[in-house]
């Protein structure tokens, strides 16, 4: 029996298991939206979860997947990434993240997603099954897409698009001279002027887009002709509050300014970055503005801040009732697999453990408006799940099995292939490996 299990788990690791309709049995189920269910079951039919519980009737003929001794979790969701848009940071040709010019609301991340990026299998092998990808150059940077991390092409992998309109809030603080810098920093006045200019750019873009929207609606109702504008057109969903505006703002004055701006423009705001968000927690909580915090594993922003300043932010946001989730940041997407460890660090420094798990599953889904389909194990949602041999927020755990919308996920990657090749290279010392079989 043990051999069979081992064989099964080996098969499982190579992705040759149940598709579409199956039942996971014997493991501890963590719905995230409710308490954990030891020895629970999850029934999946045609890619959707139909039943979750301790004693659930499994329909006849449905294949069972034995998860005894293992844990069942929702797949993790990474927000505001560049996955699929960038392969190797140093190689310019592989980057589709920064378009030229400051106003590019119509840069649609969706159409540039490389479905076969080597980075995708690496991310999903550790349980990140869904991502949101966005461009990030300029001031109004583009329109993002939410997509599942397995499929044939972006058309087929898209879950929601447009997902959000993205804005980089201009820097709001005057930098003084760094004495070790050879380049003198621009004068306070010049910096102020640059800042005014950038802020005006943002404001004008929204005002112009509003005017455009109004004029086009009037035209549709029989009024005068107005030409199509690719940029303002792309802003309409955000103006209509159908999608949120994700504003990259870390520093106190940036966040405050973004809050004022969103109120004035009457758009749905989400703060991305949010380093100082806890300092404005009351305002954020009162306005129900979510924060996508992607700075957990960072240095404190200021030399005089406590050493754990970045680690403690999610805990503070939670305590203040600010809606939030945790992400990894936009520098590159090569290590989205470490998303759970960002949440884990927040848990070590004040965020309750269950909240840390929600911060990478249910809360991202809610912020993106896809919580009807993703983020927890509940009937009616997609069977986008992982089975692990331990707490996924602990580093030593492994993902043993995974499904996206009921399709089994291939957990191999460029890394596992190279691993297999070189661990099997004949040893020069003729000895035997000390390592166990591949996890």
């Amino acid at each position: 029996m043990k051999a069979l299990l081992i064989a099964a788990s080996l098969l499982v690791a190579r992705g040759a298991f149940a598709a579409g309709t199956f039942a996971i049995t014997g493991g501890t189920v963590h719905p995230v939206s409710g308490p954990e269910i030891p020895g629970g079951m999850v029934v999946v039919e045609n890619g959707k979860i139909t039943a979750v519980g301790a004693n659930v009737t499994v329909p006849a003929g449905v294949e069972r997947v034995d998860a005894t001794g293992l844990q069942v979790y929702p797949g993790m969701i990474a927000l505001n990434t560049v996955l699929g848009l960038q392969e190797i940071g140093a190689v310019r040709a592989t980057r589709d993240v920064n378009e030229v010019g400051n106003i590019n609301p119509n840069a649609r991340a969706k159409v540039a997603l490389n479905a076969d990026s080597e980075l995708i299998p690496v991310a999903r092998a550790n349980g990140v099954l869904v991502a949101q990808s966005a461009t990030s150059g300029g001031v109004i940077t583009g329109t993002s897409v939410v997509w599942k991390l397995q499929g044939w092409n972006w058309e087929e992998m898209t879950i929601k698009e447009p997902a959000a309109l993205h804005v980089n809030w201009p820097n709001m603080i005057t930098r003084t001279h760094n004495w070790w810098d050879e380049e003198p920093v621009k004068s306070e006045e010049d910096q102020k002027k640059e800042r005014e200019k950038s802020l005006k750019e943002v404001r004008d873009a929204f005002d112009n887009a509003k005017a455009y929207m109004k004029a086009r609606e009037a035209m549709a109702a029989g009024g005068a002709r107005h030409d199509f504008d690719v940029r303002w057109e792309a802003m309409i969903p955000a103006l209509k509050k159908q999608i949120p505006v994700f504003v990259q703002a870390d520093e106190y004055m940036q966040i405050a300014a973004a809050l004022d701006f969103a109120k004035e423009q009457d758009v749905r705001l989400v703060i991305v970055g949010g380093r100082d968000a806890w300092r404005l927690a009351d305002r954020l909580a009162a306005a129900r503005v979510p924060v996508i915090y992607d700075e957990t594993l960072s240095m404190p922003r200021r030399s005089w801040e406590p050493y754990d300043a970045a680690y403690t932010v999610p805990g503070k946001l939670f305590a203040a009732g600010v809606p939030f989730c945790i992400s990894t940041g936009t520098d590159d997407a090569s290590n989205l697999r470490n998303l759970p460890y960002e949440a884990a660090m927040a848990a070590a420094f004040g965020l309750p453990k269950e909240e840390a798990l929600k911060a990478v599953t249910l809360y991202p889904a809610q912020i993106l408006g896809v919580a009807d389909r993703l983020g927890s194990i509940e009937p009616g949602k997609d069977a986008t799940l992982i089975v692990t041999d331990g707490d996924p927020l602990e580093i030593e755990s492994h993902v043993k099995m995974a499904w996206i919308s009921g399709d089994p996920v291939d957990l191999t990657s460029r890394h596992t292939r190279l691993y297999d090749k070189y661990r099997n290279r004949p040893r020069a010392d003729g000895g035997v490996s000390k390592l166990a079989a591949a996890p």
């Binding site: 003198p184 106190y252 200021r302 030399s303 005089w304």
Partner: protein, 553 residues
Amino acid sequence: MSFSRRTLLLLFTLSLTLPQLARGQGPVRTPRVHALTGARIVLAPGRVIEKGTIVVRDGIIEAVGASVSIPADARIWKVDSLTIYAGLIDLAMPVSVTPADQGGDQGGGGRRQPDAPKEKPGAFHELDVVTPEIVLADRLAMKDGDRTGRRNVGITTVRVIPEKGVFRGEAAILDLGDGPLADNLLRREAGQVISFATASGDQYPASTMGTVAVLRQTIMDTRWYADAHAAYESKPVGLERPKTNVAFEALLPSVQGKEPIIFVTDDVLDVLRAKELEKEFGLQFAYVGSGEEYKRLHDVGKLPRGIVVPVNFPEAPSVDEPGQALTLSTETLRHWQNAPGNLAQLNAAKMPFAITAMGLKDVSAFRKNVAKAISRGLSADAALAATTTVPASMVGLSDRLGTIEAGKIANLVVTDGPLFSDSTKVRAVWVDGDRFEVEDVKPPQGDPRGTWELVATMNGTDYPSTLILSGQVGGLSGTLKVAGQETPATITQSGSNVIVSFPGEAIGETGPIRFTLTVKGDQATGDGSTAHGSFTLTGKRTAKPGLDEGGAR
């Protein structure tokens, strides 16, 4: 508009100090015997004569005391209710070196090939930062504004140091009189100046550790050079001759401990690092400090040749908006608070120190800042010593400078109160027995630098000219383009007034011509006068200055 009596006096005084005209009437032969009577005289820190007289003859103090007989040929200056101090000595005045016609920097990016010697005429060191052979006194580019700026706060003697490089060249000591350098120079070679400055552009060394390597290698090379050449000279036959290198030759006396080395530091870690070099090479440096010594005073320990310390305390940072306070580091706030106390700590630690005006954005704040240091625990006597007797002693000129004593150079500061007090004004400064009136100068307000198009209207006719103001606020320099000629101008800034004085010869007049501009934003109005009458002025600023060159490093 009539001349004020004061202006008359000023013009008269100025005329005494004008450079002798080569083709004019012949040298001015005004007697240089003066008696300053009725003043409170501070002979030296802690030695005061409540009411006395100083007699000055031909630039030297002839006599000083409570009851001194006044020579019959003396011109009398009644300075009752005023105080006289010995002229102050500033041992760290950075100045730029006028460029020689050496092949300049390799512009246009691209890093050097390693081991490819630089194409410079002459047998110099290949690195731009190693120029110990420069004698600053021979290439001094000191602007008028720098000289008067310091003089107006009572500094009468300075040691000028080159601004840039690792091995920068020889410092010089001079008095701050007007006139050619030949008249003012006290010491043409006053010590080799070195520092941890990195090279500019993409030149080696770009890192601080690179400059340390340059320092060590160059000192070793200098010693080796001496040995190699000695070996060669003693027996040249049969030996390939060693290369010639002017830099090593210039550096040898310092490296052998025969000549002082002045080490310029930017922070306290620089001092600790320099001390390691002292240990390694058996040298002793005279330091120029940063004001941060208090941070690791205990580690700095003993500095036998002392340290010259600036008083450029940081301004209070702006904290008005709520988000702004967050941007202020605790380090910045603490240093703002602690910096003025630095000198008191050095004094308490019995560290030999002198005070310099180096690094002040506005030189006229010098006395006020020393006053601040006094309010933080530095005794007034120690402050005075640090600006007179201690620097004199550091450069071996105690016999000639630092106190008011018969036989010493007549460098004096006349004030209407205690020297280091914000409410005291400096009334006059004597350099080598020549008197310089100090304007009732208010602290400068605003930044009038740039290019001004002026129109002077006299008797209904307009005379255009261009005035270029450069340098630093509080120590401005100027050039006036008028009647097809370019002529340097002396600039004084008082409040938002700019007082310009230039030689009238430029427009066919004799003697200096003065005018005052009141600056408001980019507009100015003013007036002035010549022998032929007075004129009004309007001006418009047409260009703002570029960024400053930056500090000593």
